[in-house]
Amino acid sequence: MNNSVIQINNLTRTFGENKAVGSLSLEVNAGEIFGFLGHNGAGKTTTVRLLNGIYSPSSGSSQVLGIDPQKDGPALRAQTGVLTETPSLDERLSGYDLLAYYADLFTIPKDTVNDRIMSLLTEFGLEKRAKDKVGTYSKGMKQSLALARALLHKPKVLFLDEPTSSLDPVAARHVNDLIERLTRREGCTVFLCTHNLVEAQKLCDRVAVMQHGQLKALGTPADLTRQYIKRQNIELEVEENQIEKTNQILVSHPDLVLRTPVLEKNMLLVTVSGRDAIPEILTLLTVNNISVYRLNPQEVNLEEVYFALNGESK
């Protein structure tokens, strides 16, 4: 409990009639990459603003690094970094001057400012463009600069609002590598808003799935797939002359096997009722003296969880 960095209790924020965030409760642990998933309008950005003391909650409360964002926003924001949805960069400043401006606002010790800026610009491959106006940067360079700004003061908690949505795959991978490195190396906690599920699955220790301001699911990507995916495909390879027998065993267990298995290149494609069915089927086949050479569960990803959840709500 005491290593949780973000605590959210029944946090609610309405705009007129519209509940942008409704009774949200969750905790984020120190050093984890926490994925905050949800489609457009799910309440991700609103939550980030609430957690940084920009919006006040309609009801409920939150604590970030032990600070109530409502009570001491400045002290909190000195320790959090936020990569906003749009880069929010002043295009009339040079990259260097922009970072120097924020170094002043984050009161970074003056004698360390230059080194810090140069090392970030170098890390993001912007050192040659440091003196150019931000308006001349490409989209990816702007996003990198915005990320450099979010990291400038070595925040303890980093909020990233769709960090890779405007980037090409190479730049996106670079950003994702950086996020991983940061958490592992500097013990930074990351609150990652995204609707890129593949990315979330790869990066995140735990994820929350939001829908219309409501928390729909919370857990590790593996937990969620176990919990929500009630159908999984496996490839099964057995002794060739036992295929017929195997088939019979499988179809006689409709609780475990959802469809008649299909034979393809000496391999049975079996659709089973979720992950938990796999060991049961294996036992079943073993007791019946079937020689199993290979049992290959096909990967289920968050995307399927996400759609399963969305289907539920319809």
Partner: protein, 277 residues
Amino acid sequence: MKKRTLFAIMLKDLKVAIQNKGVIIPIIVLPVILFVVLPWVLTLIPTLAGGTFGNVQSMESQIGSLLKNMPAALQNQLAGHSAPEQMVIFILVYGFAPMFLILPLMVASVLAADSFAGEKERKTMEALLYTPTSDRELFVAKILGPWLAAIVISVISFILYTVMVDLAGWISMREILLPNLMWIALVFFVAPATAGLSLVIMVFASAKAQGFQDAYQTGGMVVLPLLGLVYGQIGGVMYFTVGVVLILGFVFWVLLAGLLSLASKKFNREQLMIKNR
């Protein structure tokens, strides 16, 4: 209140603002035309009028009727000059006074429009809101920057204007016309209040506006009462004497204090974020 934060915001806003043509024209071009070029053009009138056009008579009768309605102090200063000279002195020393107030008004409102509405237009406010600045620091920095700039530009323009008027006046009639008490009260007492007022009005206008131009047009409504003053002066309804200037200044300051406290109450992060969406 962190000094470093205030300075950083004020300097950055200024640095960014002067890259906007809509800002540069009123704060550089306007004072140069009004306060450097115009005095010379005007002092040429007596020479031209006396020489080529020879309509001194009609000018005499005009200035005569103007003179009769003027306060005694003014009449004394104009006594002993030819009619065209009286006209020039009147325009340079008195007629220009209300015009001068347009300068702090323009500078302050144009800078405020760039800093508030421009920030909204360029979508740069959000990142600023995520910094450890307090709402109060943001408010003070955003108000103080354009205000100080307007005051500095007013003072510089006043000095320029004084030098120009005196040079021209000395060459054409061997007389030092400025500064006088009325102008000093105008520049150091009324002008800062005028700048502050237009600034606060612009802050309110920016909250509604979509961008720099939009805010600037809405905020430009403050120019109208000032133009009223100019015409009032010319129509002989009201002359800028020390007393009038002091009263005007006092009224402006009281108004400003009221609007400032209203604005500071409405000014918070949440409002800035919502209005900047």
